[in-house]
């Protein structure tokens, strides 16, 4: 084995995942060259991160749905319905009760939306798990029902504009945390990476299990920290647009210096939410009983049942999580648009399923990772915004995305067959 391959193996990194990162980088560089240097700019990467977040958030839940051998076709419609409900709550219901632009409006709206999401998910999950109706059918029905319900909330009228605080969830100059807090976030993330590597090493040492070589640990820590800090640096290199700067300067009575005032965006709030969703869902999937049961059910539902797992309740919980994540994605989508429309989220379910599958989730069940699905979401979004930058027509964009989906899964199938690896 050549030294580089041996070193990579000693880090125990997933080669499949590394391959995906490689493909993503190749796509980015290709778009950068083709667009004459427009793709790998702080501005485009920042926008890419915001645009990916809603699909990435839902993809973290779709992985678990697909791992348990189910599917959820209803999330786009659920997102739309939930968005309409949240729109009406914050522009009509709460202002009547609390007055306009009350500071609690955004929280109450979001809380109501999240509860609704869990309830919708639980409803579908119960029908699937306890009545034994296939998830494909139940959520296909959901796709129609929730889209219709979204129209019904306001008889098709768009709800806009939304509460000022609520729209921060969608990103934008105000909806980002700024340079200082971005650095703080980055440093905390670096510390978390190092601590978790150290913790896992200490645990393995306690039970006398084989350890990674020290230089592999150092490499992993360093690589993790460099990536995190580089991402923060990119987000901080993207300045506010002049209009926002002027408004901000007027509001806080500062004079704008001659060279212009540089105010960094920093990490956008929807991106932080997506990162949070990814961390929480990875934790659930890898470190809790619930996650273990999800994978065991995917591998052999009968065995899980015979082992004493309450498989039906696990399935209901998976769909509740999916509903919750669709609600979060819905809040972000309407906040970004500063409007709730009854067509919001149309076809989102297909993008989310595609992201999960490109990210290595097997439709046969039992296999898939949250991180892979999020990477899949970024990959899909990169393709789309890259083609927009190049001025590719929408029909051709769809053709390319479709071919990439089939091609990616095809290559993955061949890779798995050749390495015989399941995960």
């Amino acid at each position: 084995m050549p030294p580089l391959a041996r070193f990579l193996r000693s880090t125990e990194l997933d080669t499949r995942m590394l391959g995906m990162v490689g493909v993503l980088l190749a796509i980015w560089i290709a778009f950068h060259v083709l667009s004459g240097g427009l793709f790998l700019t702080p501005r485009n990467l920042w926008n890419l991160s915001v645009q990916s977040s809603s699909v990435a958030i839902m993809a973290t839940g779709m992985v678990l749905v697909i791992v348990t051998r189910n599917i959820d076709l209803s999330i786009g419609s659920m997102l739309g319905f939930n968005g309409m409900v949240m729109g009406v709550i914050q522009t009509d219901l709460l202002p009547k009760l609390l007055g306009f632009e009350h500071p609690a409006t955004w929280m109450l709206t979001l809380a109501a939306g999240l509860v609704l999401g869990v309830v919708l998910g639980a409803l579908q999950g119960c029908i699937i798990a306890y009545l034994g109706i296939p998830a494909f059918i139940v959520t296909l029905g959901g796709l129609l029902v929730w889209r219709g319900a979204a129209w019904w909330v306001t008889s098709g009228q768009t709800v806009a504009p939304l509460d000022d605080r609520f729209t921060l969830l969608g990103g934008g100059p105000e909806g980002s945390i700024g340079a200082t807090w971005s650095w703080v976030f980055g440093l905390i993330a670096c510390a978390a990476v190092i601590l978790s590597l150290a913790h896992s090493r200490a645990r393995r040492r306690k039970f006398d299990f084989p350890l990674r070589p020290m230089r592999a640990e150092v490499f992993l820590s360093a690589a993790g920290c460099v990536l995190i800090l580089a991402a923060v640096a990119v987000a901080n290199a993207y300045p506010w647009p002049i209009g926002s700067v002027r408004r901000y300067a007027e509001a806080s009575h500062i004079a704008i210096p001659d060279g212009g005032l540089f105010i960094a965006h920093g990490i956008a709030i929807p991106v932080l939410i997506a990162i949070g969703a990814g961390v929480v869902m990875t934790f659930l999937a890898r470190r809790t009983r619930f996650g273990r049961y999800v994978y065991a059910i995917g591998g052999n539902p009968e065995a899980a049942e015979l082992a004493g797992v309450n498989t039906r309740w696990v399935i209901v919980k998976v769909f509740m999580l999916m509903g919750l994540l669709a609600a979060i994605a819905g809040a972000i989508s309407i906040a970004r648009l500063n409007a709730a429309t009854n067509s919001e989220g149309t076809l989102a379910e297909l993008l989310v399923i595609a992201a999960a599958v490109i990210g290595g989730t097997s439709l046969a069940g039992g296999i898939g990772s949250v991180a892979g699905a999020m990477l899949g979401a970024v990959l899909m979004q990169s393709l789309q915004s890259g083609m927009v930058l190049l001025g590719v027509d929408t029909p051709l964009q769809n053709i390319v995305v479709g071919i990439v989906l089939v091609g990616a899964v095809g290559i993955d199938t061949i890779y798995r067959r050749r390495t015989g690896s399941g995960s």
Binding site: R289, A303, L306, A307, G422, S423
Partner: protein
């Protein structure tokens, strides 16, 4: 005859039909502590179905189950495990995509502080448990799918004995094993017996039955042909019960016996 003791398990008049088929028809059977009761019969005789009723995988239509003299409510596998009933299924019932430790502890994971999975402690326990059955086994990182038939069977057996089983159901436990591993399972059964564990052993192999079992219960078409102490019958008698449903002199006839020879 020994004085009647409270049986470890007593199943009375158990029936279960699928559609119009009586898979298990008024079966009564009991098991003493430290006893191996062999269940034999043709394919489709109802042995595995009866075992699955006791392990909670199937719900019976009628009949009662008592554990240590007290009526036991067994409606699902979780209930059965609560009574200390562990099962090695013929199909092994392993989750193929996760590793050995995850399978051993499936449904009963060890948890660290804050309720997280304690994977490392589970792997350590798995190494110990597998070491007893299969000392050469090292593939703890691989999903069970990648293991050989014998290794998978060892995983299924290790899982059943890991949690202080009181009652063990072994459905063809040596089907995928080589001669050496089969002998190990035989030794294991003797060890478990000595600890007072009661074992239902389902087997096609009549020699295994005579080697390991204390009593034998023969089933045919969902009914019990007869139950006998191994010491009271010969292999030919048992074969006659299996094939013809003929209950010999040394056996207590059941409802499935076609004729009785005196």
């Amino acid at each position: 005859m020994t004085a009647p003791r409270t049986p470890l398990v007593e199943m009375r008049d158990i029936s279960l039909s699928f559609g119009g088929i009586h898979a298990v028809d008024r079966v009564s059977i009991d098991l003493q502590p430290g006893e191996v009761m062999a269940l034999v019969g043709h394919n489709g005789a109802g042995k595995s179905t009866l075992a699955k009723i006791l392990s909670g995988a199937y719900r019976r239509d009628s009949g009662t189950i008592a554990v240590r003299g007290e009526e036991a409510a067994i409606a699902n596998p979780r209930d059965a495990k609560r009574y200390g009933i562990e099962t090695i299924y013929q199909t092994l019932a392993l989750a193929e995509n996760v590793d050995t430790a995850a399978n051993l502890f499936l449904g009963r994971e060890l948890q660290a502080r804050w309720g997280t999975l304690d994977d490392i402690a589970m792997e350590a326990a798995a190494r110990k448990a597998m070491g007893r059955l299969n000392p050469n086994f090292q593939r703890f990182k691989d999903p069970v799918k990648a293991l050989s038939g014998g290794q998978r069977q060892s995983v299924a057996i290790a899982r059943a004995i890991l949690f202080n089983a009181q009652i063990l159901i072994m459905d063809e436990p040596t089907a995928a094993l080589g001669p050496q591993e089969t002998a190990q399972v035989g030794d294991l059964i003797k060890q478990l017996k000595a600890q007072g564990i009661g074992i239902f052993l389902i087997s096609q192999d009549i020699h295994d039955v005579f080697d390991l079992a204390d009593r034998v219960c023969v089933m045919k078409n969902g009914r019990v042909v007869g139950t006998a102490r191994i010491a009271d019958v010969g292999e030919d008698d048992v074969l006659g019960m299996i094939i013809l449903g003929k209950c010999p002199a040394g056996a207590i006839p059941g409802p499935g016996a076609t004729e009785r020879s005196q």
